[in-house]
Subunit: 249 residues, 2 copies
């Protein structure tokens, strides 16, 4: 909670901040090129605690942080020259994350995570259908629901402009997602099976997010999700990613 509040104070236009989107041009993926010095470092634009943490966490799990230049962009300050330049040259929606190569820019955290796992040939389950399902489900559904609730809880409730119907409707959708995820986790350590995968970095962010909003009101009635989150939080890569506002290299 404290971490989020720190970032929320005096900020607005929130929808742009947690947005997870994507962009790029023609490009050929360099498979297994990790550590190839002839290849310029990619740039990962992030802002701490935002959804870009999915990508930084994954990079740590892949032991590949050093392959990328991490660039902190305060996308909430839309009037700064930094933000304007970012909008013009990197991300049309001024959100983070964005992963940029010379001729390819990925703008959606789910897309970046899929790309990284595929590039490093790691943390991808053998069942791709299962993986696609979770990745899209979380990015298209849970992200949208949680963003709505975040706006209501952190901005609108504070200034008395909350939309109770929207809170109710989004909470119902969250509950449907949560119940489904509980069935998916039954008998498994991680969301795509017994091995940690890229899908856990994506979903894990949402579980953390839910646990940080309003003392975890959304997630506290789902012990299976809480214990899943605890398993994720016990991972060194998670702890390292969340322990400071600027990722520790």
């Amino acid at each position: 909670m404290e971490q989020l509040q720190k970032f929320v104070s005096n900020k607005f236009t929130l929808t742009l901040c947690f947005g997870g989107i994507s962009a790029l041009t023609a490009f050929t993926i360099l498979r297994n090129k990790k550590g190839n010095n002839s290849q310029k470092k990619g740039k990962l634009y992030f802002h701490s605690v935002f959804r870009s943490n999915r990508c930084i966490w994954l990079l740590r799990e892949l032991n590949a942080v050093e392959d990328y230049e991490l660039i902190d962009v305060d996308v909430w300050d839309k009037t700064s020259n930094e933000s304007k330049s970012y909008t013009e040259t990197v991300h049309p929606h001024t959100t983070v994350p964005a992963l940029q190569y010379d001729d390819l820019t990925l703008l959606e955290s789910g897309a970046i995570c899929m790309h990284l796992a595929e590039k490093y040939h790691s943390l991808i389950p053998t069942d791709l259908g299962d993986l696609y399902n979770i990745m899209f489900y979380v990015c298209a559904t849970l992200d949208e629901v949680q963003e709505k609730l975040f706006v209501q809880f952190f901005f609108n409730e504070k200034n008395g402009t909350e939309d109770k119907n929207e809170i109710e409707h989004a909470t119902q959708k969250f509950n449907a997602c949560a119940k489904y995820l509980v069935t998916r986790l039954r008998g498994k350590e991680y969301i795509c099976g017994d091995k940690f995968s890229v899908a856990d970095c994506v979903l894990g962010y949402n579980m953390w997010w839910a646990s940080e909003m309003k003392e975890g009101i959304l997630i506290q009635k789902y012990p299976e999700l809480l214990s899943y989150l605890e398993r994720l939080k016990s991972r060194p890569a998670f702890q390292q990613t969340w322990k400071s506002s600027k990722p520790v290299m």
Copy 2:
């Protein structure tokens, strides 16, 4: 326009209808098993003109419609036994599409399309980063924006409850997407290059959707997007998918 209006009349709880979500359990993808009679047919739950058209269009492009049982579910009638059963056994959010095998259910149109292209080893560009980018960008960003505008244009404006701020904000986001897509399409026939791919089925739906809302007010100022849509509409698989409310087998 007429097609959408036909489906909109007397309906509500729209957010559930165009929702594109996903679900499943343990499963091993059957690669290259097309036409294998020992494998039970998968079930594709759809409702015509909805986002499930992405999946049906793709199945036609893959020449694989016969591998699936297509099941029409009127997900807007949430009180029917059919809808209740669908919620309990297939889709926790009562939306279409859903693709169901014995032990795997995919609930998000983007995930289903990725799975189908991967299963049939077809219509996947060599640049997966590019593909992930577009697939996630469209599903997480453009879908969300267009759904908001659809609710405003087709429901709220009619009963005088439109939210002008939301329309303005969503339109700005649509324009940022549209301008980005124009740059992505520059010099190319299709969104991931010169060959038609699964990403075109996903994005093409959004272009069609934009062209159907309010006489195409969103898209009409982007001639590059209109001509892209015309290229897609000229494809027999597109025409076959859209020509009737029930897909022609």
